[in-house]
């Protein structure tokens, strides 16, 4: 019995095959399959090929349910760079894969929890668009939290 395969296309037009019963861990894909059978290529315009390869690796895991939690944790631990994790979170959000989203965001939280604000800006590439005076005003406004 041959298993049905789906093809996913990354932002940079690379194609990835994955068995349908694994792909439908993504709620987004599950809904597409339900609606139109998703016979053709499914485009994922916000996910680059490197990230999609990781997502495919994740979806293809063959873990017993009781070991799955540990596997997911290890999976993100091994890709512990913040930019990669944020790309993964973005992909997991688009594809609606809750466990992967949770794990990636939790790992980012864990990595930044001891950072200074300046380090957080650097890690999340946030541009400080305030003058030092404006920043001070914010700190004064919420001084009970600083």
């Amino acid at each position: 019995m041959s298993k049905k395969t789906l093809t996913l296309m990354s932002k940079d037009k690379q194609l990835f095959n994955i068995e349908e019963h694994l792909a439908v861990q993504s709620v987004t894909i599950r809904n597409m399959v339900k609606e139109d059978g998703a016979s053709s290529v499914i485009p994922l315009p916000r996910v680059d090929s490197e990230t999609l390869a990781l997502v495919i690796e994740y979806l293809n895991r063959q873990q017993a349910p009781e070991e799955d939690e540990d596997y997911v944790k290890k999976f993100v631990d091994e890709r512990g760079e913040i930019p990669t994790l944020l790309e993964l979170a973005q992909a997991a959000l688009d594809l609606d894969i809750k466990k992967l989203m949770d794990a990636a965001c939790m790992k980012v939280a864990d990595l930044i929890k001891d950072f200074t604000l300046e380090e957080v800006r650097e890690a999340l590439r946030i541009e400080n668009d305030r003058t030092p005076e404006e920043e001070k005003a914010i700190r004064d406004e919420f001084q009970w939290a600083f």
Binding site: A89, Q90, L93, M106, A109, V120, R125, I126, F142, A145
Partner: protein, 367 residues
Amino acid sequence: MIAGQMDVVHDDTAASMIDRISNLPNEIIHHILSFLDLKYAIQTSALSKRWKHIWTLLPHLNLNSRYSRSSPKFVKFVNDALSHRNHGIEVSAVELSFKGSATQLDAVVTSIVNYAYSHNVSKLTMVWFRFNKEVYKFRQRLFSCQTLKHLTLATNNLNDSGPHVPKSAWDFPALETLNLSNILFGGDGYKSLNLFSKCVNLKDLTLHGSYMWNLDIFDVCAPQLSKLTITDPQSLSKVFNVVAPKLESLTASVMDRFSNFLHLSIEDLDYLEKVNLSMLQFLDVGKYAPGLLDLFQKLCRAKFLILDYGIIKVLSTCLDQFSDEPCPFNNLKCLKSTSTVPIHVRNYFLGSSPSATFIMDFPQVLT
């Protein structure tokens, strides 16, 4: 990310990185911040203009007194944070971890309950680290919420004590999971308690380190309950009465710290699948054989049985007290034990469930 956005030139990777990440959707930012303490989340308001109000929209609030210099400061922090939050946003979960006196705890819990219960909270976790055995009674208000689905109340184990909880039925119509650790049940002359009868959707109940103070009867009446866990009781009631026709899984430490045996009153267990029993080890094991046999008879429908060293010890020492009658478990598929099961104990189970498999789940030893 944004529809109609122009393609980024390929060699400009740094710029494209900034572009993508600084535009992280709110869902992802909220999700990341939901794993961090609220104090930290509020500090992100200084990151940039966009971040100023992000924390006010968070549905998940983590409150931990260790990040405040004193517990009065923490109480003030919680009140400030709640009053500056965007009140139009519902609260999905609150996690409180508090170290300090009962008076300060009361102030914090009152603020949280008033705010969270009026913002449709679904998950509430409160952990209190006590310094001593001072008496604290959780207020009645905490035990009435229409939206709450998951509740955890826990405190550290200081022997023979625990915070008090109300004695009339708790009003949690939506509650599915309830976790209570080192709580005192009873007192004020009460002889019996039936707390969960209004929790009509309760599926999973865990009672850890319970101190049932002079109680004759502790009732667990919950029509939807499928999982009941009773671990490490400080003190058990004389009778533990369970009316839970949908019970699938029971985990129990069968003896309290005063060596009273769990006296379970339970029937109609049509759905029972899994039973996990454990007990502290005492010298005079023979004394506990009748209680254990009684439990076996009541739980005889189980298909999966897990027994620890203490239980196996009672069985192997006093099997003569059991083997007048066949083993009550006649539908057993699997028996798992954390110690060696002697052959005569094994034969006792196989006598009634010939096809049962035995699994020994030792701590792994390297060879």
